[in-house]
């Protein structure tokens, strides 16, 4: 399988060239966030407060890493299910977020926001957190330290493996691929 190398922050031109189903290796900086951090960012926005992290043109990875063993940058760190963040994602995309790494299907509101903002949704392989952790070279907590694993971390990644799941035209790999192999 051919992998496309992508440097982050991702450029608009690169996003336009990606198609659902492309295999990619991502390198650069990403931010983590899952249920609790999203809830806090959402409340921030509702109260017209500034975010504690600048997400403009950045990528959020839905993950709650396991603790790092001594000598490791991070513990096991695979993706968590994305649908739980559907409520918050259109708002973040409209505020300038460029991409997401997670796993699983998104609702129509998220797909529309991806198309509207020319963004991209990457799928990482759920349950391969040990392997994925090898592509995370550095991890620092940026904010919401009290949330433990759910804090927002900055990850420096090198050759992080993923697939384009929803491209900027709204093509959805999950829906397309399922139809190809469905015999029922």
């Amino acid at each position: 399988m051919e992998f496309l190398n992508i440097c982050l922050p991702i450029q608009d031109e690169k996003i336009r060239s990606l198609r659902a189903g492309d295999a990619v290796l991502l390198s650069g900086v990403i931010y983590t966030g899952r249920d609790a951090a999203h809830q806090r960012l959402y409340e921030c926005a509702q109260n017209k407060m500034p975010f504690p992290v600048n997400l403009k043109d950045q990528i959020i990875y839905y993950v709650g890493p396991a603790p790092a063993k001594p000598g490791y940058a991070v513990g096991s760190a695979g993706p968590t299910s994305s649908y739980r963040m559907d409520k918050y994602t259109p708002m973040l995309l409209d505020m300038g977020l460029k991409g997401i790494i997670g796993k699983g299907v998104r609702n129509d509101a998220v797909k529309e926001a991806i198309v509207r903002n020319k963004a991209v949704y990457f799928a990482a392989v759920g349950g391969s957190g040990a392997l994925i952790s090898k592509s995370i070279k550095k991890s620092i907590v940026i904010c919401y330290d009290d949330l433990g694993t759910e804090a927002i971390h900055e990850f420096t990644i090198k050759d992080f493996p993923a697939f384009v799941a929803i491209d900027c035209k709204g093509n959805d790999l999950y829906a397309m691929a399922k139809q190809v192999y469905r015999k029922i």
Binding site: G64, G104, S128, G129, T149, A177, R182, I184
Partner: protein, 281 residues
């Protein structure tokens, strides 16, 4: 009466959760390897390859297979001629869980209260402990670190006799279809049929760690398992939900007598790691 000191229980529980978190059961690994050779989708083959590599790496380096090291679930068969000494059995189990999750760099995932206090308990206790009293002088422990990607996708329904076998099949297939990519396929599908609401659920969970090569000893249920596995693998969901012919590794069914008015059916969907370790004291 045989006496077992609580320290032995704590030590064993700790050992089992570490083993289950780092080492995938060999039958599950064999099923993933077999899927990798047979899947019709190039992406599916790549994903199954990544999963196998992940499992070898986790075992080699003693790191968790998955960051979601889950809630600690235990199924205990407690011999009626065993006397626990030095403290309470449940405290000893929870201490083993606490030590495994702290010393083994496993993620602490349990919160105090689902609604009003969602703070992390920070040591992954309390465990969920199912205890059955059995004849004998031994204690059998099945340790299951269960992530909730699959648990969130699990379903239970009380069908009625008029729904029959067809209704049961339809419900199971629909549950796996609706779970889609979220449960980290290829999944192990545990099904509990009969009993009452909670017994069906308990049997469904038990069925998820029966193994990928076993069939129900009742040939009618064994055939139903084979038929459902074939049907599920036609759904197209595939490994990681990215399309393919390996959507489930196994369908395991357990059943129990029930009421004349009812067919309780629970479907417990477990991710491809199907983490489990077992031991007898």
């Amino acid at each position: 009466m045989r006496e077992i000191h609580i320290s032995e229980i704590t030590r064993k529980v700790k050992q089992l959760f570490l083993k289950a978190s780092y080492h995938i059961p060999s039958d599950v690994l064999a099923a993933l390897e077999s899927g990798k050779c047979k899947d019709k989708s190039p992406i599916g083959v790549a994903v199954l390859g990544q999963l196998c590599d992940n499992n070898y790496l986790a075992a080699d380096e003693s790191i968790p297979i998955c960051q979601d090291t889950g809630v600690a679930i235990l199924f205990i068969e407690y011999g009626q001629e065993v006397c626990t000494v030095g403290g309470t059995f449940h405290d000893a189990v929870n201490e083993g869980v606490r030590q495994a999750y702290s010393d083994g760099y496993l993620r602490k995932t349990v919160i105090y209260d689902p609604l009003f206090d969602r703070r992390n308990t920070r040591d992954n206790t309390p465990a969920i402990i199912h205890t059955k009293i059995v004849p004998g002088t031994q204690v059998k422990i099945d340790a299951i670190p269960r992530g909730f990607g699959g648990e969130n996708m699990s379903q239970v329904k009380i069908l009625v006799p008029a729904d029959g076998l067809e209704g049961v099949k339809k419900f199971i297939l629909r549950a796996v279809d609706e779970a889609g990519p979220n449960a980290c396929p290829p999944v192990v599908v545990g099904v509990g049929i009969g009993g009452d609401l909670e017994l069906a659920c308990e049997y469904a969970k038990r069925a998820t760690f029966r193994g990928c090569n076993s069939h129900n000893s009742n040939p009618e249920y064994a055939n139903l398992e084979k038929e459902l596995l074939a049907e599920i693998n036609k759904l197209g969901i595939g490994a990681a939900g990215l399309g393919g012919t390996t959507t489930a590794l196994a369908v395991n069914i357990e059943y129990y007598p029930t009421h004349i008015a009812s067919i309780p059916v629970a479907v417990n969907i477990c991710c491809h790691a199907a983490r489990h370790a077992s031991s007898i004291i």
